[in-house]
C-alpha cells in the first residue's frame, strides 16, 4: 500500500497562467499536476500524489481565511497521509501560501506536512513550526530540491526519526536535541578558536539568534509642516523605464524628480514590476504611488510638502541584501534633503 499525498501548488505551476491569473480561487484536481510528477518519481510507488490543490497566489494572500477554510475542508475529506506544498523557490506570495497552508493542515488536521522554498522567502519565517526544505531561488532548482523533499517526506510518512537539519536537509527549526559528543567542550572550544585564528573553516555549536528589529522613530509632531517622501517596491517608473530596472531580482533602484507632477497617467508612468499583473498600474500608476492625492493634501496644507523625488525599485525576487543596500543609500539622500517622513507602498 502506498501513502496518499495531497500536493499544493500555485496557478503558475499548474500552467493556468502567470500574474494575470494570480487571482484564481482554489480548485482541487485528481492526481498529479506539474511539479508533483518529480516527487512521485522519487517515491517510486511508496507514496503517491492523489490530489493536487491549485490556488492563485494573490487569491491566497488577499483571501487567506476563505482559502484556508476551503482547502482544509478538501484535505479533511480526503484523509491523506501527508500534505506537501511547493516548492516555492523565491516567489514571496507563493512561499507565504505554502508555509501558511501547510502549518494550518498540520495544526488543525494533525496531518504531517512539508514544504520547500528559498531561505529568504518570507514564508520561511514559519520554519520553527513546519519542516521547510531550503531550495534555490528559482525553479531551475527543482531538480536538486525534489530528491531532498521526497526523501524527507517519506521519512516523515514512515514515522522514522528525523535527523538534525543539516543531515536531513531542512531549515533549522530552533529545536535542540541532547546527545553525547565524543570530545569534551573545552577541547572543542579550543579547536574552534585555533581554526578561527588560522582562517580555517569551523562550525559554531551555538549560533547567536539574529533579532534584526529597528525601534519605531518618534511620530511627526506637525504634519502641516512636514516634508513627506513617497517610495515604492511596486516598480513605478517614468514611461519607458529609463534606468532599466529589472522586472525581477532588481539590481538597482531609481530616483525620479516629480516636482510639478500632479498626476501619474498611462502616458507618463508605468510599472517595471514583473511579479504582479501590471494592467492596473499601467492604466493609472497613482494606484501604486498616490501622487495625485498627495498633491491634493499638499495644496490643502494637510502636509507641508511632497518631496521632489521619489525612490522606486522592483520588489520581485529581489534579494534582502540588495533591498537593504538600496534603502540604506536613498535614506541618506532623504535625510540630507530634510525629509521628515516616508510613505512606502508595496504591491
Amino acid at each position: 500500500m502506498s501513502f496518499k499525498v495531497i500536493h499544493y501548488i500555485n496557478q503558475f505551476f499548474a500552467q493556468i497562467g502567470g500574474e494575470e491569473m494570480a487571482h484564481v480561487a482554489p480548485e482541487i484536481r485528481d492526481g498529479v499536476v506539474g511539479p508533483g510528477a518529480a516527487l512521485n518519481a522519487e517515491w517510486k510507488g511508496e507514496a503517491e500524489i492523489v490530489k493536487t490543490v491549485v490556488c492563485g497566489d494573490s487569491y491566497f494572500a488577499e483571501h487567506e481565511k476563505e482559502a484556508k477554510e476551503t482547502i482544509l475542508g478538501w484535505v479533511k475529506a480526503e484523509k491523506p497521509d501527508f500534505f506537501i506544498a511547493g516548492p516555492a523557490f523565491n516567489a514571496g506570495r507563493y512561499g507565504y501560501a505554502c508555509a501558511t497552508i501547510a502549518k494550518a493542515v498540520q495544526e488543525e488536521l494533525g496531518i504531517k506536512v512539508l514544504t520547500g522554498m528559498y531561505e529568504e522567502n518570507p514564508g520561511a519565517d514559519l520554519r520553527n513550526y513546519i519542516y521547510i526544505v531550503p531550495t534555490a531561488n528559482n525553479a531551475a532548482g527543482m531538480k536538486k530540491a525534489a530528491p531532498v523533499m521526497a526523501k524527507l517526506a517519506l521519512k516523515l510518512m514512515k514515522d522514522e526519526p528525523v535527523g538534525a537539519s543539516i543531515e536531513d536537509g531542512y531549515m533549522n527549526r530552533g529545536i535542540r536535541v541532547n546527545f553525547f559528543e565524543e570530545e569534551r567542550g573545552a577541547k572543542r572550544a579550543v579547536d574552534m578558536m585555533i581554526a578561527k585564528l588560522e582562517d580555517k573553516p569551523f562550525v559554531t555549536e551555538y549560533p547567536m539568534p539574529s533579532f534584526d528589529r529597528v525601534a519605531p522613530n518618534p511620530a511627526i509632531k506637525d504634519l502641516s509642516k512636514a516634508t513627506i517622501a513617497l517610495c515604492t517596491s511596486g516598480g513605478i517608473v517614468p514611461k519607458g523605464n529609463p534606468d532599466h530596472i529589472e522586472s525581477s531580482s532588481a539590481s538597482h533602484y531609481g530616483e525620479y524628480n516629480i516636482a510639478g507632477v500632479k498626476d501619474l497617467t498611462a502616458e507618463t508612468f508605468e510599472t517595471a514590476h514583473g511579479g504582479y499583473d501590471p494592467v492596473y498600474a499601467n492604466q493609472d500608476a497613482d494606484r501604486v504611488l498616490p501622487i495625485d492625492i498627495m498633491r491634493e493634501f499638499e495644496a490643502q496644507g494637510v502636509i507641508g510638502k511632497l518631496h521632489d523625488f521619489y525612490y522606486a525599485t522592483v520588489g520581485n525576487g529581489t534579494s534582502v541584501a540588495n533591498a537593504k543596500k538600496f534603502a540604506a543609500e536613498y535614506s541618506q539622500k532623504l535625510k540630507a534633503a530634510g525629509v521628515d517622513a516616508v510613505i512606502m507602498t508595496s504591491t
Binding site: 506570495r93 518618534p218 492596473y280 493609472d284 492625492i293 498627495m294 538600496f326 508595496s346
Partner: protein, 76 residues
C-alpha cells in the same frame, strides 16, 4: 527597505496588502491596502471613487505617522 529607512532615523509607514509579510520584514507602522496589483486603487470603481480610497488610505498613513508607538502596529 522600511527597516533601513527607520534605521536612518526617518519615521516610515508601510502601505501594503499582505500585512503579515510586512510584520515579518519588520515594518513598525503598517496600513493595510486594497489589493496586490492596485494597493491604493480599485479599477472596478470610478476614478473619483478610487480617489476617495486613496484619500482614506493616505489619511490612515498620516495617522500612523503622527501616532507614537512602541511596537509594530497595524493601523486599520
Amino acid at each position: 527597505m522600511v527597516k533601513e529607512i527607520e534605521r536612518a532615523g526617518i519615521p516610515v509607514v508601510h502601505v501594503c496588502t499582505v500585512t503579515p509579510i510586512s510584520m515579518t520584514v519588520g515594518a513598525n507602522r503598517i496600513v493595510p491596502a486594497i489589493a496586490i496589483p492596485h494597493p491604493l486603487g480599485n479599477p472596478a470603481l470610478t476614478l473619483e471613487e478610487e480617489k476617495d480610497i486613496r484619500r482614506k488610505l493616505l489619511k490612515k498613513a498620516f495617522r500612523a505617522l503622527t501616532t507614537e508607538i512602541e511596537d509594530q502596529t497595524i493601523f486599520e
